[in-house]
């Protein structure tokens, strides 16, 4: 599998580390809502189809990437630098 790192270009899977589901939202740090924290830490949807997830280019530029990948075909639909896309989302 290749992941097209927006900085480094397409690279071999062996350079990347899977860093988990990118659909989760961390509860507000002061929140004491245990069910929200429980969902954040433990619950995963296990999508069959397009899945947004973080990959770190750990053997390259070390940036985290927000990747949309089909869990059925491994086809990668989009890749963005996570920090940029998270900042964009936060601005919305």
């Amino acid at each position: 599998m290749l992941i097209a790192c927006p900085y480094c270009g397409p690279r071999d899977l062996s350079e990347f580390t899977y860093q988990g589901d990118a659909n989760r939202t961390r509860p507000h740090p002061m929140s004491n809502d245990q069910s929200a924290w429980n969902a954040y830490v433990y619950d995963r949807v296990n999508t069959a189809g397009d899945h947004r997830e973080f990959w770190q280019h750990s053997g390259g530029c070390r940036a985290h990437l927000a990747v949309v990948r089909s869990t059925l075909t491994h086809e990668i639909k989009s890749v963005a630098i996570a920090r940029e896309s998270m900042n964009r989302e936060a601005a919305k």
């Binding site: 071999d12 860093q19 961390r26 245990q34 429980n38 830490v41 985290h64 920090r83 900042n87």
Partner: protein
């Protein structure tokens, strides 16, 4: 009669004689021979014994599909079993042994299995050895009795026990076009792609390029085919954008057009050149792939079809034309298509007598009749071979009339021959396509599976697509003169005479799977191709059924009364052919197990340190002085620290620069305790949790400037902590202006500990004071030691007055030497990990053994570090019910009451009975404590503190260590910490 070398012909170099030995017998061959051709040239018919029945077997093919002629290659002390003789290039000094025979190839005890007949039919093992015990010779217990004998008899060649000393390497290749296969279609594809300036890789699994053109009689543009190949290859070799890869088998087709290939770099040489690997594993990323992998000829299944001397027609022709070897003197051809007629002519031209061409078809083309006439062969149409005879090699065949797919009653005719060349049609080599495509499609006219539609970027060419002639492969650009051949075979896959007992008809020669095994599988309900494969092991041998797949499916289809297209085929999976494990491991074997070394590594070794691998790092365990035991050494080292001063290399601690205006805020979030309040030039011990409230890592973090922190982590967790920080900055708090950078390797670190530590520093540190005012507990100063800039933090892991001295890694040895010299008057002692561990256990400090991914801060009595003033990673979940339960395991000290050593992993139990049980915890760290004069340990025990003062027992069945212990506080030594504050 035996096979022999023809008087002339072939593309071997008859002037070069190469010596080799087969089962200890010295033989010779020529350059250009394979082991198979050389064995035939030496008159060898029986090359091995079969897998189940130990029947004598000879060379069956001339290529990678070889099921029979597997040998063990011996190089020095190394044995490599199960190598097809057809794939071994002869070199001077080659030594091989035949396999699966005892005591010898010509007389084999296991051949008695042949007499046992149906005993070894499909499902024999399941039926005999599985399930409840019924009678004396059944069931699982019977298996346990028989296993030893069966395991000894099973299998093919035996691997050696010596470590593989050969060299293997990996290579990454990038190209626009990868052409797999260098027959006419592959050569054309490579030429065309090269002409457009694209980067082209041309991979050929054999030693020479050209495929069938190397031995076919065709001419191309007026040149003999082999000469045209040589000219084409010479031209490609001059092009800078073309990479030629001979002896390279493309074995796997993976996502994003990544292909795995094995290059056999020096297997064909007696000795590899300097630095040359034996095998090189290629990972090739190709823009486009052209699959020009050709086709495999397949046999017809008939009784007695495994006798030495029976081989594929194309193989027989190839031995004659390419190697100048006659596989027999008097040869019969048995076919269901025209291609074998061309083979007949080639064999005749090489000097053999073609006794007959036996064809199951009632009528054949004019062109075929003409080839038969030229070959001087009697043409027997509407006949089939129904049995064979001959003890060690074929002596005679019997034929009977054949029509409508059936053997007809009628006169049996015997023909005396020493070789039978068989052709049952051709199957495109669609293995790679199947790995990167949809399901293969059965073609009713070629009676073969054609390549599926691709799921990746590849196209097919030549015989791979079902276009078997050279003209079709080369296209219109070249004038090809070759016999006109109808490749479409008659739909005959098996000759199944009824009524008479005529011997076993083999489908999978390597696994000894017969046609009746397939019918048995059908009767017993194993009818899907996937069940058939697993029940009979059809196609599961090292040849992966390259020649047996289609006949096997055809027999099952006939049994089920279905067309083959509905029976389907199993999916081909990588590898296409065997790949050496050495090549897959490559530099992880021998050459490159990366080691991380500290700047003082060589000094440690020179001082007799026994090194300990901590992850990839190497650290001194003890510095052995003259015959000391490990315990004596660490006790001496630890004593020296408590009594005067010691020095330990702490360069391996993870170090992360945390920089930026939001650095302090960030640290407040990742540590449980507060860092924004930490003054510049001060350090603080910090604890990190994971989100679910479990302890993650600990270490000190130094504030070097307003926006500039140096975080230290445990050696083991450095990478994980780095990744943790990067994740939160990138994905959770992307608004924070913080940069983290690994600086582990930037700094060399030495901890100087002991009551005289300050005096050592006073003797060597310049440009700063190190007294209590200038450098209080957890203070940081910058200065110089012997001219090198250093940063010193006063902190203690040992419980003594101690300092960590950091300097640039390139100055590490220089500063270490200066510290040693300054410590000389105080008898400074270098200490290793064992003494470091001893000192920390005496103090009850935790490390990775206690922060083990299961313990909460409370379990470790670190709840004093949980800030109430701010949230941090883990703060929302650290107080969950389960994490504050009173019966959780928590940190305690253990004292052995029997004065014997304790060991890590030993269990703590409340009672010792016949069988100790009811563990209440386990030991995490242990030592002999010189300060207490006792064997002590840290442990995680249920209830923890509430058990202080109680007696319990250690139970360590693995090491047979049982005995009484006392549970105490983990603060064994100087609980007030007066020594380090002194």
């Amino acid at each position: 009669m035996s096979p022999r070398r023809a008087h002339n012909g072939g593309r071997i170099d008859r002037a070069t004689r190469l010596r080799f030995t087969f089962d200890g017998t010295a033989m010779t061959g020529h350059a250009g021979d394979t082991l198979a051709s050389a064995l035939l040239a030496n008159g060898i018919s029986v090359v091995g014994r079969s897998f189940k029945y130990h029947r004598p077997r000879g060379v069956f093919s001339a290529g990678i599909e070889e099921p029979n002629a597997l040998v063990t290659v011996i190089r020095g002390k190394l044995r490599e079993p199960n190598i097809p003789a057809t794939q071994i290039e002869l070199y001077d000094g080659l030594t091989v042994e035949s396999q699966n025979r005892f005591p010898s190839l010509s007389f084999d005890v296991g051949a008695l299995n042949s007499l046992a007949g149906n005993l070894f039919a499909a499902g024999f093992y399941y039926k005999t050895f599985m399930g409840p015990v019924v009678g004396p010779l059944k069931g699982t217990r019977f298996w346990m009795f028989c296993e030893h004998f069966i395991r000894r008899a099973a299998g093919l060649g035996r691997a050696g026990y010596e470590p593989d000393t050969d060299r293997y390497e990996k290579m990454y290749g990038f190209c626009d076009v990868l052409v797999v296969g260098s027959g006419p279609a592959g050569l054309m594809a490579a030429k065309r792609a090269a002409a457009t300036g694209k980067r082209v890789f041309l991979a050929e699994q054999e030693a020479e390029f050209g495929g069938t053109l190397r031995w076919k009689s065709a001419t191309i543009d007026g040149l003999p085919a082999a000469e045209w190949v040589a000219a084409t290859i010479a031209e490609l070799a001059t092009l800078p954008n073309v990479t030629l890869l001979p002896r390279t088998t493309v074995w796997g087709y993976y996502d994003d057009n990544a292909l795995g290939a094995l290059e056999r770099v020096s297997d064909h040489k007696a000795h590899a050149a300097i630095g040359e690997p034996r095998h090189r594993h290629w990972t090739i990323r190709a823009g486009d792939v052209v699959l020009a992998t050709g086709a495999f000829e397949r046999p017809i299944v008939f009784p007695g079809n495994d006798r030495p001397g029976i081989m594929l027609a194309s193989a027989a022709a190839r031995y004659a034309s390419e190697y100048g070897v006659l596989p027999g003197e008097r040869i019969a051809i048995f076919a269901n298509n025209d291609s074998a007629y061309e083979a007949a002519l080639a064999l005749k031209d090489a000097g053999a007598e073609i006794a007959a061409i036996i064809d199951v078809r009632a009528g054949v083309s004019l062109s075929a009749r003409e080839l038969a006439r030229e070959a001087g062969a009697e043409l027997l149409l509407g006949y089939a071979v129904t049995s064979t005879s001959g003890a060690r090699r074929l002596r005679e065949i019997e034929i009977q009339p054949f029509a409508d797919g059936k053997v007809k009653d009628g006169a049996t005719r015997a023909i005396v021959v020493d070789c039978l060349a068989v052709s049952g049609g051709w199957s495109p080599a669609i293995h790679l396509a199947s790995q990167a495509g949809h399901a293969p499609q059965w073609d009713e006219s070629l009676r073969a599976f054609l390549p599926p539609s691709p799921t990746q970027r590849w196209t097919g060419a030549g015989a791979f697509t079902g276009a078997f002639s050279a003209a079709a492969a080369l296209g219109d650009d070249h004038a090809v003169n070759e016999p006109e051949i109808e490749y479409e075979p008659a739909p005959v896959f098996e000759i199944h005479p009824t009524g008479k007992k005529s011997g076993k008809a083999f489908v999978d020669l390597q696994h000894d799977v017969t046609a009746s095994d397939i019918r048995l599988a059908h009767r017993e309900g194993f009818q899907s191709v996937e069940h058939l494969k697993r029940y009979t092991t059809l196609g599961m041998a090292t040849d992966q059924g390259k020649s047996s797949n289609v006949p096997g499916l055809a027999i099952m289809a006939a049994a089920r009364g279905l067309p083959i297209s509905e029976v389907g085929t199993t999916r081909f999976r990588p590898p296409f052919s065997a790949v050496s494990l050495g090549a897959l491991a490559a530099d992880r074997h021998g050459h490159f197990k990366p080691q991380r070394l500290t700047p003082m590594h060589d000094w440690h070794l020179a001082r007799g340190a026994r090194m300990y691998a901590a992850g990839l790092w190497y650290r001194p365990m003890i510095y052995g002085a003259g015959g000391e035991t490990v315990e004596q050494a660490y006790v001496r080292e630890a004593r020296a620290v408590r009594a005067s001063v010691g020095i330990v290399d702490v360069s391996t601690l993870g170090k992360i620069a945390v920089q930026g205006p939001d650095a302090a805020e960030f640290l407040d979030r990742v540590y449980t305790n507060m860092f924004s309040t930490l003054p510049v030039h001060k350090a603080r011990y910090g604890l990190m949790l994971r989100e679910e409230g479990i302890a993650f890592d600990d270490g000190t973090t130094w504030r070097l400037g307003e926006h500039d922190f140096l975080m230290t982590t445990t050696t083991a967790n450095a990478g994980k902590v780095m990744q943790h920080l990067e994740y939160y900055l990138d994905c959770v708090w992307p608004d924070l202006r913080v940069h983290v950078t690994s600086v582990t390797d930037e700094w060399a670190g030495a901890a100087v500990a002991g009551p005289n530590a300050r005096r050592v520093l006073e003797a060597c540190v310049e440009s700063t004071g190190v007294d209590n005012d200038a450098l209080p507990f957890m203070g940081i100063v910058r200065g110089e030691i012997a001219g090198a800039p250093v940063m010193i933090c006063r902190l203690s892991f040992s419980g003594e007055l101690a300092y960590e001295v950091y300097c640039g890694a390139g100055h590490g040895q220089h500063v270490w030497d200066a510290l040693m010299a300054a410590g000389q008057p105080f008898g400074i002692v270098p200490y290793g990990l064992e003494a470091l561990g001893t000192l920390r256990i005496e103090k009850g400090h935790v490390t990775g053994a206690e922060i083990d991914g299961r313990t909460s801060p409370r379990d470790l009595y670190l709840d004093w570090m949980l800030s109430k003033k701010k949230p941090y990673i883990g703060s929302a979940m650290v107080d969950r019910e389960g994490l504050v339960a009173p019966d959780r395991i928590s940190l305690v000290g253990i004292v052995a009451l029997d004065d014997r050593p304790l060991q890590g992993g030993g269990h703590i139990v409340e009672q010792l009975g016949e069988e100790p049980r009811g563990s209440i915890g386990h030991i995490t760290g242990f030592c002999f404590s010189p300060a207490l004069g006792k064997y002590i340990a840290l442990a995680l025990v249920k209830g923890g503190k509430a058990r202080h003062g109680q007696r319990a027992f250690v139970s360590d069945p693995v090491r047979n260590r049982y005995g009484p212990v006392e549970i105490v506080s983990h603060h064994f030594f100087d609980p007030e910490g007066s020594r380090m504050h002194g």
